[in-house]
Amino acid sequence: MIAIPSRHKSLTLLAGVVVAQVLLLAMQIKRERQVRLIRVWAVELISPLQRIASWTIHGAQHGWGGYIGLRTAQKENDAMRAELDRLKVRNAELEGRALEADRLAALLNFRNAYSEVPMLAAHVIGASPDSGSMVVNIDRGSRDGIRRDMGVITPDGVVGKILAVYPDISQVLLMSDKDSGVGALLQDTRTQGPVKGTGAPLLSLDYISNDEKVAVGEAVLTSGQDRIFPKDLPVGKVVDFVADPKSPFMKIRIRPAAHLERLEEVLVLQTRQEMNLKKSPDAETTPVASPAAQKAPVAPAPPAKKPTDAH
């Protein structure tokens, strides 16, 4: 036991006696609201400790909860990221399907508008690996009634013709191929000439005399003379034309009406029956095909016009 010097003993005793009497006083004295002072002291002494303990426990609980929450949130975050990725893929798939549905709806409308014309819808399933030739493959073949040289179109216009037929697929030679050609005519003047592929996005309308009036933007339609496409199908529009002084014919460049660079669904014409294009719901095709829309030749075209397309 620790020995306390006598001088300190008396001091200790003094402190003890004074503290005891202070406590005695505190037990008797009532402060506001008749609460004994000893209770006030006790509360004031204990409450900071309680606050500290409560704060510590709360902090620990909060920290632990936060840690657990973070771990859970991390898992949830990962799961949600995976779900988001899956939904993105799903969304892209649905958007693709919606676009496809729109295209098919347009195709169906076109098909219904010309229900008397036998035609077969087909999907473009591939392209020729030869970069020099403009050929695509469709998922219809001889078993579906496809024959060589049948015309291929979209609601926008002429696409090309069947180049080769296999039992289940066929090859389509696009109009833009150098070996491709379509009998065509200018809508306004009804001047006929073959539209040929150039191996580039734009086509060429040949054998149009320098004396003919040609307008930029003028529609070019099928003439029906090639015995592949019916008459008055849209082929494209004049982009520019140049009168060649060394030749009696103009050089006319045509932008295809069909989007040859992004074909997905096409229609294969199983006949060369002439189509009444007045029925077409497509605004682009209606004025083109309407006989009433066929105008008399206009003023002679300028000898040369600056190309609007650099292709």
């Binding site: 001088r7 008396s10 003094l14 006696v17 009497q21």
Partner: protein, 176 residues
């Protein structure tokens, strides 16, 4: 290693007085009774602090801090018991007076009348200051002042009384 004896207690030249049995309790009881009795008949007796004088006298004479503070505590608590003050107010004040008086008595000569007069007046003021401090701190009462002219007068009056009381109590000392 050489050992050194350390003396702890009153200065060797200061005499520690002892009293006959019963002197201290009787003196304490008498002081309390008279303290309660005089003000009934004499209004100015409110200045008297006989229990304080008795406590201070025995503390200075016995020169033992422990016994001095215990005596002060007992006298103070008894005074509290007889008054309307909460138990401990006088107790704390007289405990400190008993302790300090004993400590002081062990170091200086407190037998001289002038020393006794000055010490009594000083301890009266100290006692009142502690009482006021305790009252203010614990009872939240602000009507008590630490020092006023009446308090100073009271201290002098009590010191004067002590000049007669202390020699009277000296008669009850055991011969050394």
């Amino acid at each position: 290693m050489e050992r050194t004896e350390v003396y702890i207690g009153p200065e060797p030249h200061i005499e520690v007085h002892k009293y006959y049995a019963g002197v201290v309790p009787v003196a304490v009881m008498l002081s309390l009774v008279l303290q309660a009795f005089f003000p009934v008949y004499i209004r100015s007796a409110n200045f008297l602090e006989l229990p304080l004088l008795v406590t201070l006298y025995f503390a200075l004479s016995k020169r033992n801090p422990s016994s001095g503070l215990v005596l002060g505590m007992v006298v103070g608590l008894l005074q509290d018991s007889l008054s309307r003050t909460p138990l401990g107010l006088y107790g704390i004040a007289k405990t400190l007076v008993g302790y300090l008086g004993s400590s002081l008595g062990a170091r200086i000569d407190v037998e001289h009348p002038i020393a006794r007069f000055l010490l009594t007046a000083a301890f009266y003021l100290f006692h009142h200051a502690v009482f006021t401090l305790t009252t203010r701190a614990l009872l939240a009462q602000r009507n008590e002042n630490y020092i006023t002219v009446p308090i100073l007068i009271a201290s002098l009056v009590n010191a004067t009384i002590a000049m007669g009381l202390f020699p009277l109590l000296d008669r009850f000392r055991k011969p050394s």
